[in-house]
Structure formats: structure tokens, C-alpha cells
Amino acid sequence: MDKILFIEDEPTLQKAVGEILGQEGFEVLSALDGEAGLELIKKEKPDLVLLDLILPKKDGFTVLKEMKEDENLKDIPVIVLTNLEGMGDVERAMSLGATTYLVKANYELDDVVTKIKKTLRG
């Protein structure tokens, strides 16, 4: 069973995504801020990380950067799931090593699940 960590400070989003991923047969872990998220990544070594960018304590860019600098964690794929959509933000996240970049407001939940499955298979 693939383990997915969702780092997101909005509990309602956590719940909806957690629900559907649970039904799809994934084990879902969640963190509400960047620091807790990074701790969980180190402890649980998830198969995939869903990462928001605007987060309390440690923002998503920093989490991404620290993950990619860590030999043990750098191969875990990261899907950025955010409402930031400036070209600068996208480029920064991609150059830091994000696998995919999704703007929340523009995707249906099913599209997000499809992207997750595709990333895990690829």
C-alpha cells in the first residue's frame, strides 16, 4: 500500500483529499505545517508528498529544498498543490525538484487523484 503525506494547513482540504485517497486504497498521513511535515517525511518515508506552498512555521519551498538536499529523501516525488500561480513560483518549485505543480482552484478532485496515480506509477 502506497503511503502519501499531505502537508496542508487547511483542515477541510485535508479531509476531502484524505477521504478520497483512503477510498482509493492509499495510506494517508497528514501534517498541518511545514515543520511537522518535514518531521513526518523523515520518520515515515512516504512514497509521495503532496505539498502546499503557503504554510505556517516553514513554507513549502523550504520543505522542498531541505528534502531534496537530504540523500535519503531526495527521490521521494513531490506534487505541489497550491493556489499560488505566478510564473516565478512555478519555476522556483520546479527548479527545487518538484515533480508536478497543480493549482488547487483549477482542478477537480478526480484530476488530482489521476495525477497522483500517474506520478506513483511513473
Partner: protein
């Protein structure tokens, strides 16, 4: 400018009240003050020069007048700065509010997706109907927030485009297929004509998609209910080193008095269809912003009661 308009503008206090600022912050008033000071100064110097022939007094008057003018000038600059700042604050306000709105809106969207997918249990027909209504409203709200953010970016010159080479005809075909059901509901027939062997265009395909969608949807939306065979003709032709997209309809057209405002913000054809239509009136403003940034041109011709043709061009190669 007609005489009446000039007289109306001379009523400075009313003009300034319109902006919600006091007279001493209002450029119109300050310019009049400046004018009066200059006239008085000229007459005063002339009078003194003729009667007393005292250079010291003339110099003094010139110094005083210059000081007054500098002060007035300074006040005008400050008042303009205020206006600029107010505009900037408005932009920031829109931007912050829109970003803040998107989080709860996406929450709502995904929760609705879950409910509607029946993953949380069966829902009956009536419940589904209402969930669909909420979903549509939510989507419109997300659309509005996205539009407002785009308007904001255009106004601040921050709209980003990521150009690449793509096929305008296949993109258009996709959009046409998407809109066909909506058009069918309205009894409008969409035809798609294109020349053979069209080259690729160089632009931001995501943004151009928005423009195509906007133009065709408008053509469908403002169809003429009194005509039996309502159509929209979508064409793509080569025009030297550009491709030209056009959407022609036999809809209600645009009265000549409104033409200047078509690409402005919040322009809506409400009064034209005599009923409230969906939409924010931002679509054409954004479309123009996108096409301008892509090195193309956008325009329209229209005849009231006969129909409109909206068109844009895009460069084939990198410019």
C-alpha cells in the same frame, strides 16, 4: 468638446466632489489658483513698473509669485501621488482578497466533488440536482476570482505568458467541441471552417484558449432569439505571417454607442438582451490583454440586430 461640456467642467467644486477630495487636493482647482496667481502677478508687475519704476519691488513680486507657484505645484504632485497610491491599494486589496477567497473555494469544490461522486454514499436525484447547482455556482465564483486576478495582473503589467508553438486549429476544435452542448441548448449551430495546411502559431496556448472560449461563448450567449437559424461561424485563415481567428454570429449585435467600451472593464451586454446574462464583463478586457501581450491584434465589427464578428491574430513565428 461642446460649450456645455466646457462650462460643466468649469464648475470645479462639483468636479472635485466627484472624486471625493477637498478643493486643496484637487488638481482642477489648484490649476485655476495657479492661473489666477500668474494673471495677478503680471498685472501687478505692470502697474508697479509703470507707476513706481522700482526694480526691487518687481524682483520681490517675482520671488513671491514663484514661491507660491512652487507650493501649488508641490500640492498638485502630492495629490497625484495620492491617486496613484489609492489605485495601488485597490490592486493589492483585490489581489489579497482573491487569494484568500481561493482557499475556501477550492475546499468547497473538492468537498462537492466528493459528494457528487457518490463516494460518500448514494444521493437521490433531487439532492444531486441541488449539489449540481451549488457546484455550478462555485465554479462561477472560482471563475470570477480568476478573472479579477487576471485583470489585476493586466493592470499592473504582471500578466505572464509562456509562449510556445502550437496548433491554433486543433486548440480551437477542442474548445468548439466543449461549447457545442451549451450552444445546442440555446439553439445555436456552430460551424468550424479552416484553411488547409495551417502553420503553428507562437503564443501561450493556455491563455489563448481562454480568449477563444470567451469569443465563442459570447457569440453563443448574445444570439438573437427572433431568428430561426442561429449560427456561429468560426474561421481560421492565414494572413501573411499571422493566423487570423474569427467568430461570426447572426446575434443581436452591438449598438454603435457602446462600441468604444467593448474592450473596457465590466462591459456587459445586459441591456442588449434585456435580461441578466451570466458573466462578469471582464472577458473581453482580459482577452485584449492576452492578445496584446502575444504580439497579435484583436478587434470586431458589428451591426445592431444583424450580428458581430470578433477576431484576433497571432504571429506564426517568434517575434
Amino acid at each position: 468638446m461642446s460649450l456645455r461640456k466646457i462650462l460643466k467642467q468649469l464648475n470645479i467644486f462639483a468636479e472635485c466632489r466627484k472624486y471625493g477630495i477637498t478643493a486643496w487636493q484637487c488638481p482642477n482647482f489648484l490649476f485655476v489658483v495657479m492661473g489666477l496667481v500668474i494673471i495677478t502677478a503680471i498685472l501687478g508687475t505692470y502697474y508697479i513698473g509703470v507707476h513706481y519704476v522700482a526694480p526691487e519691488i518687481v524682483v520681490m513680486i517675482v520671488v513671491v509669485v514663484t514661491t507660491v507657484l512652487l507650493l501649488v505645484g508641490h500640492t498638485i504632485v502630492i495629490s497625484f501621488e495620492r491617486v496613484v497610491q489609492a489605485n495601488k491599494m485597490k490592486s493589492e486589496f483585490v489581489s489579497i482578497v482573491s487569494h484568500q477567497l481561493r482557499t475556501p473555494l477550492s475546499s468547497l469544490r473538492w468537498s462537492l466533488d466528493l459528494l457528487r461522486s457518490k463516494r460518500l454514499g448514494q444521493i437521490n436525484k433531487k439532492q444531486k440536482e441541488y449539489l449540481d447547482i451549488i457546484n455550478e455556482s462555485n465554479k462561477r465564483m472560482i471563475g470570477l476570482v480568476n478573472d479579477l486576478l487576471n485583470v489585476n495582473r493586466i493592470e499592473e503589467g504582471r500578466l505572464e505568458v509562456r509562449p510556445s508553438s502550437f496548433s491554433l486549429d486543433s486548440l480551437t476544435e477542442k474548445v468548439v467541441e466543449e461549447i457545442k452542448p451549451l450552444a445546442k441548448d440555446k439553439g445555436v449551430n456552430i460551424d468550424f471552417y479552416l484553411e488547409k495546411k495551417l502553420p503553428l502559431v507562437y503564443a501561450d496556448s493556455n491563455r489563448v484558449r481562454m480568449v477563444i472560449q470567451n469569443l465563442i461563448e459570447n457569440a453563443v450567449k448574445y444570439s438573437n432569439k427572433e431568428i430561426k437559424s442561429r449560427f456561429v461561424k468560426v474561421r481560421i485563415e492565414r494572413d501573411e505571417n499571422k493566423l487570423r481567428f474569427s467568430a461570426e454570429d447572426n446575434g443581436i449585435g452591438i449598438p454603435s454607442g457602446l462600441r468604444k467600451r467593448v474592450f473596457g472593464k465590466f462591459f456587459r451586454g445586459d441591456s442588449l438582451v434585456k435580461q441578466r446574462t451570466e458573466g462578469t464583463g471582464l472577458g473581453l478586457f482580459i482577452s485584449k490583454g492576452i492578445i496584446d501581450l502575444s504580439g497579435g491584434e484583436i478587434g470586431f465589427k458589428s451591426k445592431e440586430g444583424k450580428g458581430s464578428t470578433f477576431w484576433f491574430t497571432l504571429p506564426i513565428k517568434k517575434t
